[in-house]
Amino acid sequence: MVEIPEGTKTYTQDAAGRRTDEWSECLVLIASNEDRAAFTRFFRHFAPLIKAFALAGSSLSASLADELVQEVMLKVWQKAGGFNPEKAAASTWVYTIARNCRTDMFRRLQKFDTPLAEEDVMPDQGSEEPFAMLQDKRSQERVRDLMQGLPPDQMQILAKVYMEGKSHAEAAAELDLPLGTVKSRVRLAIQKLQIQIDR
């Protein structure tokens, strides 16, 4: 493990005492200095999560999961300059890269011949306007905190949809539940997480 020099940085801490912006700092260092030590720290924390994401729903083999880890981490290196710590948490940013890479991998495995990459159909969300960015970031924190309080039946379905990449219909079939029940649990979770639906 590469040591972070003591006394050179100040960190804010969350309730669990984690340095909440340690990973954002890594990305900034990678972008500004091509800092391999920062990249290594970042890898050690996120590669195991990316691998878990790849294996969720056991849809990819272990070797493909490792390939996905490589792909995502290389993208992290290339795209760190586009990361804006004012706008997103590092984990949110990495998640979107991992999600897009995994979808692209599924399509490659199914031999899709397409001019589109997943990031073409999932462009960067959100405004660069300071107030909007602050709201975005607060909403990310709120969702993360409130997630802990969701009942297991809602968590189970969210995990299927988001981590295992299942449609609502596939989740319903796997859990032997009516489609309407799955949809209403997702909606309830969305309400509890105080996600604003603009209409």
């Binding site: 990678i30 972008a31 990249f39 290594t40 890898f43 050690r44 590669a47 195991p48 999560l49 691998k51 878990a52 294996l55 490792d66 880890v69 490589q70 290389l74 290196w77 290339q78 760190a80 300059g81 948490a89 984990s91 949110t92 990495v94 998640y95 979107t96 999600r99 897009n100 979808t103 399509r107 199914q110 899709f112 011949d113 397409t114 001019p115 589109l116 997943e118 990031e119 073409d120 159909v121 462009p123 960067d124 969300q125 959100g126 909403s139 990310q140 969702v143 993360r144 997630m147 988001y162 981590m163 990449g165 949809k183 909606r187 979770a189 969305i190 996600i195 604003q196 603009d198 209409r199």
Partner: protein, 218 residues
């Protein structure tokens, strides 16, 4: 500003990255015209990020780290160009890519006196992704849907028994829905339509074609 939006369920599947490619492309074209849905889907994406952080970590060995470190040298420098941005007002970037040009460069296939269709290739084997051009005031004969149909208005507008739709409006028709859309009187209407391919037909076709395709590639 768009008045008809994808339902929350659909936006959730979009934000989770689970929609079929052609449908995801269609929803993303709607986003191009709709800041509300951009914001909502951004928030829905945060749910995925929160779940991702809580995943049970899978061990990754140093060998993989070293492989990645060794490959960093080959990667393009960090000069970061924003590749994908919303582009309100212009022909949406995805469509430009798929059309390799602009609306005026398309080849249209005339179906009736007021309806022409231009098929675009997304590479999604299960969905047809096409532009429909309806002449001003023209009508598409009444039809039913065997599968689902997403429609997004790109230019002009049309109406049916349920309402009238303008630029950026998104509609999802389900199997059995019957309608007879009529374009507005003032200008031609161009829509994006994403349909389930007739699976039985396609499957039958593919089974016939597979041996020949294999021979060629072989």
């Amino acid at each position: 500003m768009a008045k008809f939006h994808p339902e929350l369920d659909l936006l959730t599947e979009y934000a989770a990255g689970n929609l079929p490619l052609a449908q995801a492309a269609c929803v993303s074209v709607h986003m191009n015209y709709c800041e509300q849905c951009q914001r909502t889907s951004g928030q829905l994406q945060n749910m995925g990020a929160a779940l991702f952080e809580e995943l049970q970590a899978e061990p990754v060995g140093d060998a993989l780290l070293n492989t990645v470190l060794a490959r960093l040298d080959d990667e393009a420098p960090l000069s970061y160009a924003k590749s994908s941005e919303w582009s309100a007002g212009r022909t949406p970037a995805i469509l430009q890519r798929l059309m390799s040009g602009d609306l005026t460069d398309l080849v249209w296939k005339k179906i009736t006196s007021s309806l022409s269709i231009s098929y675009l290739k997304t590479g999604d084997p299960n969905y047809e992704f096409a532009l429909y051009q309806i002449k001003a005031g023209g009508k598409i004969p009444e039809h039913t849907h065997h599968g689902s149909e997403m429609t997004l208005v790109l230019e002009g507008g049309f109406s049916d028994a349920d309402g009238s739709y303008h630029q950026g409006d998104f509609l999802l028709r389900r199997p059995g829905d019957v309608h007879a859309p009529t374009a507005v009187q003032s200008e031609d209407c161009i829509c994006l339509a994403v349909l389930d391919a007739p699976l039985k037909f396609t499957g039958w076709k593919y089974r016939w074609m597979n041996p020949f395709l294999q021979l060629r590639t072989g």
